[in-house]
Symmetry: C2
Subunit: 198 residues, 2 copies
C-alpha cells in the first residue's frame, strides 16, 4: 500500500510530469506540432527517456486506457453464469462510464485532443479493438465455447464497443455536459431490445 521506494515514487512523478506537460503543449500548440524533443525539454528529461514511459507519442493522451480494459474484463470474469451475457456486459461497461463521470474534466481534455488528432484517434481505435478481442475472449470462456466456433461473443463485444463509442461520441459532441452513464444505459437497452421495433 505504501509508495514503495524512492525509485518507484520518482518514476511515477516523472510519468505524471510528462503527461501534464505534454497535454498542456498539445492543447496549446497542437499534437503534431509538439515534438518529443519539446516534451522532453519541458518535462526535464532526455528525449530518449520519453520512450521508457510511453511507447508512442499518442499513448500519452490515451494513458490509462489499459486500466479501463482490465476493469471491464475483470467485472466480466465475475459475471454469474445464469445472467445473460449482454446484461453482464452492460454492467461492466457502465462501471467504467461511472468513472468517466467522476474524472470528467480530466478525460474531457484528453478526448478533445483525441477528437482533433487523427493519429491519436486511430491509436484509440486500435486499443479499442484490443478490448473487443479481450472481451470476446472472456465471453467465449465464460460460455464454455470453442474459440472460433460461435460468432456470438464477437458480435456481443463489437456491439458493446459500438454502444460505448456512440455514447461517447454523442456526449463529446454535446461538450461533455450530459450524464454519460444514462446515455450508455440507453444505448445498451436499445441494443438489448432490438434496433427495428425500437
Amino acid at each position: 500500500m505504501k509508495s514503495q521506494g524512492l525509485r518507484e515514487r520518482k518514476k511515477l512523478d516523472t510519468r505524471r510530469r510528462i503527461e501534464a506537460v505534454a497535454l498542456d503543449m498539445f492543447e496549446r500548440g497542437g499534437f503534431e506540432t509538439t515534438t518529443i524533443e519539446d516534451i522532453a525539454a519541458a518535462a526535464d528529461i532526455a528525449p530518449r527517456t520519453f520512450f521508457h514511459y510511453f511507447p508512442t507519442k499518442e499513448d500519452v493522451v490515451l494513458a490509462d486506457y489499459a486500466d479501463r480494459l482490465a476493469r471491464i474484463t475483470g467485472a466480466l470474469a465475475e459475471w454469474p453464469t445464469d445472467e445473460p451475457a449482454w446484461t453482464a456486459l452492460q454492467r461492466a461497461f457502465l462501471s467504467v462510464a461511472a468513472d468517466y463521470e467522476i474524472e470528467r474534466p480530466r478525460l474531457l481534455r484528453r478526448f478533445r485532443i483525441m477528437a482533433a488528432t487523427p493519429s491519436v484517434y486511430a491509436r484509440s481505435l486500435q486499443l479499442q479493438a484490443g478490448w473487443e478481442d479481450a472481451v470476446a475472449s472472456v465471453l467465449t470462456q465464460r460460455a464454455g465455447l470453442v474459440a472460433g466456433g460461435d460468432i456470438t461473443p464477437r458480435l456481443l463485444a463489437a456491439a458493446a464497443l459500438a454502444a460505448m463509442r456512440a455514447s461517447l461520441g454523442h456526449w463529446l459532441a454535446a461538450g461533455g455536459k450530459g450524464p454519460l452513464p444514462a446515455q450508455l444505459t440507453d444505448c445498451f437497452d436499445r441494443l438489448a431490445r432490438g434496433l427495428v421495433a425500437g
Copy 2:
C-alpha cells in the same frame, strides 16, 4: 467509357503495378520489413513518386476502401423513407458483402496482411470510423433530424459497423471459407431482434 488518354492509362497502370508489387512483397517479407524504397524499385518508379499514388504505405493494402463507403452511402441515400433505417442499413452493407464474395481471393490477401500488421489494421479502423460518421450523417439527413440532437443515427451506424466487423473477423478466422453475406445477415438480424432474448 474509354481509357481516356495515354496519360490516364499510364497512371492507372502504375497504380496497379505498385499495388501488385507491394502486396507480393508484403506477403513474402512482411509489411514493416518492406520499405517504400523496395516497393519503388520493384515498381520501377522513384521513391518520391509512391506518395503521388498513396498517402501512406498502409493505404496500398486498403485501396478501394473509399469506393466501398461510397457504395454504402449511395445505397442509403436511395432508401425509401417508409422503410426502417436498420433495414436500409442491412441492405446497403449486404450489397458490399456480396462484392466481398466475388472478389474473395483478392480481398483475402489484403485482409491477411491487415490482420498480421497492427499499423494497417489501425489505418483500416480509422477509415471505418470515417464510414461511421458518414453513415450516421446520411441517416440524420434522411430522417430529417438535427445534427447533434438524437443519438440514434450514431448508434445505428456504430452497430452496423460492429455487425460488419464481427462478421468479417469471424469469416477471416475461418480462413474465408464460409459465405460472408449469410454471416452478415445473421448479425444484422440479431441486432434487429435484440441481444438478450437471442
